[in-house]
Symmetry: C2
Subunit: 385 residues, 2 copies
Amino acid sequence: MSGSPARPAVAVVGGGVIGLSCAWQLAESGCQVELFDPAPGQGASHAAAGMLAPVSEATYGEEALLAAGLASAQAWPRFAAHLIEASGIDVGLRQEGSLLVGHDPDDAQQLRRLGALLERHGLEAEPLTARQARSLEPALSPRTASALSVPGDHSVDNRRLVTALTVAAERAGTRLHRGPAQPVMQGGAVVGVRHPGASAVHRADLVVLAAGVATSSVAGLPAHALPPVRPVKGQILRLRGAAGLLSRTVRALVSGVPVYLVPRADGELVVGATTEDVGLDRRVTAGAVLELLRAAAAVVPEVGELELGEALARFRPATPDNLPAVGLTDVPALAVATGHHRGGVLLAPLTAQAVVSLALGRPAPAAAGPLSPTRFAAAVERSAS
Amino acid sequence: MSGSPARPAVAVVGGGVIGLSCAWQLAESGCQVELFDPAPGQGASHAAAGMLAPVSEATYGEEALLAAGLASAQAWPRFAAHLIEASGIDVGLRQEGSLLVGHDPDDAQQLRRLGALLERHGLEAEPLTARQARSLEPALSPRTASALSVPGDHSVDNRRLVTALTVAAERAGTRLHRGPAQPVMQGGAVVGVRHPGASAVHRADLVVLAAGVATSSVAGLPAHALPPVRPVKGQILRLRGAAGLLSRTVRALVSGVPVYLVPRADGELVVGATTEDVGLDRRVTAGAVLELLRAAAAVVPEVGELELGEALARFRPATPDNLPAVGLTDVPALAVATGHHRGGVLLAPLTAQAVVSLALGRPAPAAAGPLSPTRFAAAVERSAS
């Protein structure tokens, strides 16, 4: 052990929102933290819309994900307040809720099904007529068919969040290494990390892999140790000059195509996102940009007048059961925090809390129980037998 | 006079395709040339599609522009060959012709009208069925309504052209100053140029203003000296990965929206362009990108699979009568070469030839006669009286 039991040494591999949140909270809890990432915050965290929307994203049969999302959403206001205090950076938390919009009659039918699901779960959501929706958000198209208000689903500015987490983590004592790292095993256990090709080992009592889609291809570990994570490509746009256009997140189905529009305080409007199972294809494609702009302009016609600031492609880390993988693996001293798919920003507080608990040997939060990565190790063993 | 009569000193202000072509040809003709531009080739020339298409662009009532375009198109193959030899850079001249496509029945009707106009002018164009068009370009949508083959309208790679012209101009002796310049008057005549704010004068026997949309706002000259040039905003896309998709320029009307797709040897596909009278608004807008991608994907569905490499906005310099302004002004020793609107690349050889003629006191090419900028001075005087 390189740290005292009271101050465990933790190496975090990956500096996206998840890795940074873990590093910050670990350091604040007294751990000696080193974080490794060649380009911190430049993966999925850079493209994320920053929606905190467990209710809008509720899906039949994904109750554990819903419970984790609700628990983490509840933790968000305190997490944000604490982060703003620790970093001095406003993370742009917006608590105006979300408006879900059905564009044509088929889309409206889909929205009614979601409304029924939310009601069954006792989640707060209010059906609105198109007229009511347009009085809340006058920029909505006159063709809007129906709407559902979800007052508890909020958003945060993903890029301010990355900056604030970086500052807060470093202020709390985290050492940030802008380079890659891989775990080092000794006698069946992980004992630290090193730069690929280097011999010096950064010894650690716990190594946390939070490298998003790269997590399942980390070298030097037994195959069963790592959860299966596949890349789900998302393309997303940043429009500019939208100050005052929308006052809350608008999510819509437009002839079956899902699109969301998330306003920022500085007049940016985030329009996303595609969901593509195409491997690690990093291209921004004409078809994706066309689909997003077409859907967004159908929902809010004034979108056409805005500046197209950015078009980005990144990869969400997804697991086979759509639940993140957060917790200790069956390799001693090796934990993972990945597989957050569309929910990395939402699930950051819960994930950090779970990782701090295991670093300090405390009980993990209940909602994090189903996220244990060992559920995949069992599946790997079964499929191998 | 700072040069001998046999070697006049010429200052060219503006380093786009027009200014560079003039500088190159002037230097090759024995002039001492200095060219001034803070960012050579980064204006309209950087965004241009590079079409050499006087026939496809023929319009009722614009016979002088058609004549100038045809004369310059005829000069292009020699101009290109000479430029490649002088610079060692292949400018990507493609001589496969153009295919004009009508997407829906109304578009097809428009195309028939253009076909009739071309026939009246004796210009080469052949109506094709949709099936014939698709056998030439199999990537065309099965919904294509009709087509017109224009075998004489070609294209050149605008960016290779800028690079080649820069190299050739410098090799021929042009001194390139990467900074702004304005004309200096003395006794009613222009005597050279200087950097704004500086006192040193670069003396010249002739000053050629080729600064695109900036030409009509050049400081220090009498108002009547400069042709009225207004910015016509164009937005244009560069897609990538299109090698082999199209073998020639495809121009289309899609429910009345004009779009063109110009292939490059390296797999780039240029998709343009909007035509917007919105002043100097430099933003790339969501609406323009949506319109271009929608139209392009309607004509060639596979466009959706391509990478969106760039979206750009620049300004075409347009005059009230749509003809360029090329020639001596009524201020002694001051010439202009601007107002080329959509045709700067096409009209570069003719413009350079005209400017060389006036620098050396030779007769200008006949097709350049109607381009004299003094036609506007007369209009300004009339409107002032």
